[in-house]
Symmetry: C2
């Protein structure tokens, strides 16, 4: 483990020369709280208080200790502090991915908010593969986080039980369920699917299709979409399922396959804006005008899409609000609040052009 500085010189009263003794017997050690205490002429407990409860320390003592801390460049060891106090000040954020992802916004705001409150974020990328989830959870829990942000609702029972048993606040996000582990900030993907289906129906779509990733949340949207359409008498919905992560290239390749399956398709619900942009490009190549001949709806409502692809419809979800609300839920509970909140942030279908 890294040392903050070379060890303090034994002769503390002499002005520090720039070249401290690099190696001492037993190898170089980092500065410890006792080094600061000795220099400041107080006990280690007092130094600890300077960091953790400065209000309980006499002003002059406080100042003197701080001077020494500054001069020595002492940084407390939080591994030791966390072990001793059972307060790791660590929050884990478990997210499938942050690259080109809606989640990055959530993690950003979440992290900012938590660090303002004195916590640090351990980033755990789960990918879209569930097979290593147990190992990931082990790794996360081994750090003894004081709270966990989960993306999506945990699916396997084993995971849910383990998380519930840990006894720390958990926020599930970006999804909705009747039985959250603890707290929840999200929205219903199923209802989004329903809403997009209704949007299509209102526009007299006859032959809707689907291009979707096969991850849990995308499949939930698919479920709502198909169910609602079936209620309207539309069955045998053509679909192309792709493996995450979604990209423009994947969407571009998927649309022709869909059109091949169902040449009369007049509307497509894509699992993400990137897929939708790819589909739009493919539609162009196929000579289909969007949205008049082929309507395309994405998911995510990426900022740039408004300007660059007004032909596309998208589903807007407030990832920033999710991150902020999730952070607040956790902080409230860490501050002693008892209730387990469930927040539905909802969604909004954004149609930009009707040409």
């Amino acid at each position: 483990m890294p040392n903050q500085k070379p060890p303090a010189a034994a002769d503390a009263d002499l002005p520090d020369t720039a070249a401290p003794a690099r190696r001492m017997r037993g190898g170089p050690k980092g500065l410890r709280i006792t080094d600061v205490a000795a220099q400041a002429g107080v006990s280690p407990i007092t130094v600890s208080r300077v960091f953790n409860s400065p209000a309980t320390v006499a002003p002059e003592t406080l100042e003197r200790v701080r001077q020494v801390v500054q001069k020595l460049g002492y940084v407390p060891n939080r591994l030791a502090g966390g072990l001793s106090s059972s307060r790791s000040r660590l929050i884990a954020a478990i997210v499938p991915t942050i690259a080109h992802s809606l989640f990055s916004e959530t993690v950003q705001v979440f992290s900012e908010t938590m660090s303002r409150a004195g916590y640090q974020v351990l980033l755990a990328l789960s990918g879209y593969d569930d097979s290593s989830e147990e190992a990931l959870l082990d790794a996360v829990l081994s750090r003894r986080p004081e709270g966990v942000l989960l993306t999506g609702v945990a699916h396997t029972d084993s995971l849910r039980v383990r998380l519930a048993n840990v006894g720390i606040p958990i926020v599930e996000t970006w999804d909705m369920t009747d039985q959250p582990i603890d707290m929840l900030v999200g929205f219903s993907h199923y209802r989004i699917g329903v809403a997009v289906a209704e949007h299509f129906l209102q526009r007299n779509v006859r032959k809707p299709g689907l291009v979707s990733a096969n991850d849990a949340r995308a499949l939930a949207r698919r479920g709502g979409f198909c169910t609602r359409l079936e209620q309207a008498g539309i069955r045998d919905i053509a679909e192309v399922l792709v493996a995450p992560p979604s990209s423009v290239a994947v969407g571009k390749a998927a649309l022709p396959r869909l059109i091949e399956q169902a040449p009369d398709t007049d509307a497509v619900f894509c699992g993400s804006d990137l897929l939708a942009i790819g589909a739009l490009s493919a539609a162009r190549h196929l000579g289909l005008s969007v949205p008049s001949q082929l309507a395309i709806c994405g998911f995510g409502d990426l900022e740039f899409a408004t300007e660059t692809t007004p032909q596309l419809t998208s589903v807007h979800v407030d990832g920033t609000r999710i991150g902020l609300t999730a952070a607040r839920c956790l902080l409230d509970r860490l501050a002693g609040a008892a209730q387990s909140k469930v927040t539905d942030v909802g969604f909004r279908i954004v149609e930009r052009a009707t040409t």
Copy 2:
């Protein structure tokens, strides 16, 4: 700090009878290595070895201990482990932001690679404000990371000195300097500015302008851009500087201001693709055709831009490669390699349409 399970110890109820009152620090404690050891009929050291050097444990013992671990749901406490072993298995990633950012790709790949090697990533968002950098570094170092990924080259001397003194491997990324703290994986923003200027000059641009964020790296690109243009006899380059983070909206607002300053502007170098997309939109509103009347060059080469805004030119940088290379540099050093590598990943100007 979370407990893995309710207390296993049965001695908790009668505090002050025969035995000297044992101090119960905190509430009920989680499972400890001694609990596993007792159940498996081995010593704690052996359980430790099962996790940290399984090859040194007899196969039957290994199996037996693992069964108990599984049955009890024991997860080692890495705060204790790290303190004891001086190996935190933590790597810090200090990044300005991950939202709508090129950096998210780097962090993604970096994190994946590090976790495959048994490390976890502490995410530290520095923002674009340097004022709190010391505090951020304190927070990071208090976790005793075994390595640090920095975005950009650290600017303040104090920071550089502190980081150098910690004695752990450091990788600076996304920039270039002659005097890296330790290792470096990046490219020269100045040279990008020069290259874009030359690109413009080759296309007979007469009146180039600049829309840029005023962060360190964007200003370096600006420096190269203006210097090269001045060499070609072009001075008084119109510019609009904006505060990060950049966005489409900001770019959209900036272009008209630039055109107002210099109505005959025929090419703009934007600090990012988002700014460029906003500028493109504004150009449309101003009745300027892109690129024939007004060429626009962005930075970042976002994937979707190829499809959605082929009118734009952009500078491509391989963020994935940066993340991967940075991770490898760190891992090599953690594995004992001595050298401090500097990798220039370069860049590439991508021109999509010449219409």
